[in-house]
């Protein structure tokens, strides 16, 4: 059911603004709309956003060391006051962490620098003089550099040069000296051979001593880094404080953001927003607790205002709203498909997964997940959907399927209660198409319902009822042709219904058009849609195919493992051990991949084949001002 929304306008004293916003955030009932005419962003908001960014940064920094929350542990529950009180401690801690991280990064940078110095000095390891002594003399010119081994003889052949070599290998480090008068000659000669100039870094002592110094420094740095890492690790134990502070900052930021949407005069402010009709009183009493000097005006939405769509359903149906949301929210004036889709979803999901053992596994798994993790939102909805899907899978598995791939009919003569799709594939196909036809007809019935609720009886009769006549009439007419005995009169009635339906479409599809010729053309065009209805029905063959994919693959896995156990002596024992591990792993894999398959294919049948008939997609999300936290659950 789509909840009726109202437009709310609140005017109150500026002095109460902060408290009123706090109260509204606490009840999570009002989506604040922007009516502000101020251009400048709020300084307070900037400050809070900066703080949030810093907290998130330090959370990232300690993430590798922090205690991981278990997959199944629920979010921590805390009251608003507890969370807010932790802001200061969190900011302080994150400041400390920020310093530590900066220090660590500095150490790393220095290490990098030293490493590159060391590798630059390495060719001159045997250079015997202190580097600071190496300066150009008055009458002697020095060249320091690397020369290719093949050019060394060339270098030695120049008799005006004096040469010292310090290393071996394909490039050789060398010091070349000459008289200042020959410096130009020497320089151009060096350019002609494979020579690279080298400049010593500004360090003292021989290169060997300098390298030792740098290496020692790096070892020191490494120790320092380890020390800092230990400190960060120690702080990581209290990551909960920063998480709380980050969530508190989020709460504050949302409230300040809402404050920027308000319109203000000298003494008052105005807030405009959407509220659910059934929550107006809640809003009223929340504000009354803050002040009695306010004016709350609630009205119906205007034509040009599109309210957000909120759906409300009973406890069983509510989780399936998430399946609908995955597709699209309903338009505000449309219909909420969830209550109608839910039974179809459960029914078809089970037929696709179709293995009683897997159903049991899925049901237990999602039950445990719900009990331990207490998920909310999307994951909460989907885990509950899987829970009911698991139940339906058990039922279908008992009726026609298998138990972990075992055909229990052969083992103990129990399953399947109804028929075995592996041997009776035509019956199975008929079952799938039959369910499909019912599903599609249900879609058309809902289209009629929507049309009637909008008092558009023409759409209901000519566009929906006509198709119901055609589809059900053709089915009744065709059944005897497929060898299913029906009283002859029924099949005649069926043919009649189909003809009436077709006539309705031919005559009235183009009811907007005056020209009878164009009208008939429009009718023929619509009648051609019979092919799309046919493909819709055939699409339900996937129910059978996915059932095969689960059951037969499970059987394949069982047979593989049975082969492993087929050895003799020690091989047999080994085989049994491996097979046991393998069986668990393979079946878990199979249940995971087929649950995914069943979930999405079943969703597709709802979205395309079912919703396609009546659903109006494109509603907006209702995002009331509230506590949108990431790490904790705010309790009242």
């Amino acid at each position: 059911m789509i909840v009726e929304m109202k437009r709310l306008m609140l005017v109150a004293h500026k002095a109460d603004e902060a408290n009123i916003l706090k109260a509204l955030q606490d009840i999570e009932a009002v989506q604040v709309l922007s009516i502000s005419d101020e251009e400048k962003p709020s300084d307070a908001l900037d400050k809070v956003e900066l703080r949030g960014a810093k907290l998130t940064y330090s959370l990232e920094a300690i993430k590798p060391y922090a205690k991981k929350a278990g997959m199944l542990s629920p979010r921590r529950e805390e009251t608003l006051q507890e969370v807010m009180d932790r802001i200061d401690a969190g900011v302080e801690l994150s400041g400390v962490l920020e310093d530590l991280v900066r220090k660590k990064n500095n150490c790393r940078a220095e290490q990098e620098k030293n490493f590159s110095l060391i590798s630059a000095l390495r060719p001159f390891e045997n250079f015997p003089y202190p580097m600071e002594k190496y300066v150009q003399q008055k009458h002697v010119h020095f060249f320091l550099g690397l020369v290719a081994q093949k050019d060394v003889p060339l270098l030695q052949a120049q008799d005006y040069l004096s040469i010292e070599l310090y290393s071996e290998g394909s490039t050789v480090s060398a010091l070349v000296a000459c008289h200042e008068d020959d410096a130009k000659n020497a320089s151009s000669f060096l350019k002609s051979i494979d020579w690279t100039d080298v400049v010593f870094p500004k360090m003292e002592g021989t290169p060997r001593a300098a390298m030792k110094l740098l290496q020692d420094r790096n070892e020191e740095l490494e120790k320092l880094i380890l020390e800092i890492t230990e400190q960060i690790k120690a702080h990581a134990q209290s990551s909960a404080i920063i998480e709380d502070a980050a969530d508190a900052t989020r709460i504050e930021r949302d409230r300040l953001k809402a404050a920027t949407e308000l319109k203000r005069t000298m003494a008052t402010f105005a807030l405009e927003g959407w509220v659910r009709t059934d929550e107006i009183e809640k809003v009223q009493s929340a504000i009354e607790k803050v002040t009695d000097a306010f004016n709350l005006d609630v009205r119906d939405p205007n034509e040009d205002e599109i309210p957000p769509s909120v759906v409300k359903n009973n406890k069983f149906v509510t989780p399936f709203e998430q399946v609908q949301t995955l597709y699209s929210r309903p338009t505000y004036g449309g219909i909420d498909g969830t209550p109608f889709m839910t039974p179809c979803y459960v029914l078809l999901f089970g037929l696709m997964l179709s293995d009683a053992g897997y159903g049991l596994l899925l049901m237990l798994g999602s039950w445990l997940y719900i009990k331990l993790k207490k998920p909310t939102g999307m994951s909460g909805g989907i885990s509950r959907v899987l829970y009911w899907g698991g139940l339906s899978t058990i039922v279908w598995g008992v009726l026609l399927g298998t138990f972990f791939g075992l055909s229990l009919k052969e083992e103990i003569g129990l399953f399947p209660l109804w028929f075995d799709p592996m041997t009776d594939s035509m019956t199975m196909l008929a079952l799938c198409f039959g369910l499909g036809i019912v599903h599609i007809l249900f879609g058309y019935v809902l289209k009629m319902k929507v049309a009637f609720s909008k008092k558009d009886w023409q759409t209901a009769i000519f566009d929906a009822l006509s198709w119901i006549f055609i589809i059900s009439g053709l089915v009744m007419y065709m059944l005897p042709l497929l060898g299913i005995a029906l009283p002859e009169v029924l099949s005649k009635i069926g043919l009649g219904m189909a003809l009436v339906g077709a006539a309705l479409i031919l005559l009235f599809k183009g009811r907007g058009k005056k020209n009878p010729f164009k009208r008939t053309i429009a009718g023929f065009g619509e009648l051609y849609n019979i092919s799309s209805v046919l493909s819709d029905i055939l699409s339900y063959a996937r129910l059978f195919a996915l059932g095969i994919a689960t059951g037969v693959i499970a059987t394949v896995f069982n047979q593989l493992c049975a082969m492993l156990m087929g050895g003799s002596g020690i091989l047999k024992i080994l085989g049994i051990l491996i097979a046991c591990v393998l069986l668990v792993a393979l079946h878990l894999f199979n249940v995971a991949i087929n649950t995914l398959g069943a979930f999405v294919h079943c969703a597709r049948l709802q979205y395309v084949e079912f919703y396609g008939k009546f659903y109006e997609a494109g509603g907006r999300e209702f995002t009331p001002l509230g506590y949108r936290t990431k790490h904790i659950q705010v309790t009242k």
Binding site: L538, R542, L546, I548, A549, I553, I593, G597
Partner: protein
């Protein structure tokens, strides 16, 4: 010559063609999702689902290969089948072989596009999955036909 050679070829074709398709599809989707996750690690869940989708064709191929193998007695212990039966097994493998090969590749491409969409609009992952599932339909239909053909022999 009895029909087992042909039946073996059929089983091999079903597994290998559909397997190649899935490998390509999952491969390209995996590359895209690695890029997406490096940008935003929180997307790994929905990216993983999208990457897995083109993987099912390989499983369907394996399934048909196994059904053929056990039906034709290739796993040992079965009576020899005739040449005509062998040909029928071979042809029965064609729908899932080629249907799986091509649908997995194209599904992989749609999954890549879907992952790119999820990077920009993380809240729209449901639609990305739905788009990829549209392609899978044809692999599912091919599987069904292959299965019916094999069991009919």
């Amino acid at each position: 010559m009895d029909g087992t050679v042909l039946a073996t070829l059929g089983a091999a074709l079903a597994a290998v063609l559909a397997g190649i398709g899935s490998a390509i599809g999952v491969g390209i989707a995996g590359q895209a999702s690695a890029g997406a996750v490096s940008e935003n690690p929180e997307l790994s869940g929905s990216c993983l689902v999208l990457q897995l989708l083109p993987g099912t064709q390989g499983i369907y191929g394996l399934l048909i290969a196994f059904v053929i193998a056990s039906g034709a007695g290739l796993l040992g212990g079965g009576a020899a089948i005739t040449v005509q039966q062998g040909w029928r097994y071979l042809f029965a493998a064609i729908p899932i072989g080629f249907g799986g090969l091509l649908s997995a590749i194209y599904q992989g491409k749609v999954a890549v596009a879907g992952i790119n969409m999820v990077v920009k609009r993380p809240d729209q992952s449901g639609k990305a999955i739905l788009q990829a599932i549209m392609v899978e339909t044809y692999a599912v239909l091919a599987l069904l036909i292959s299965f019916l053909l094999v069991t009919g022999i």
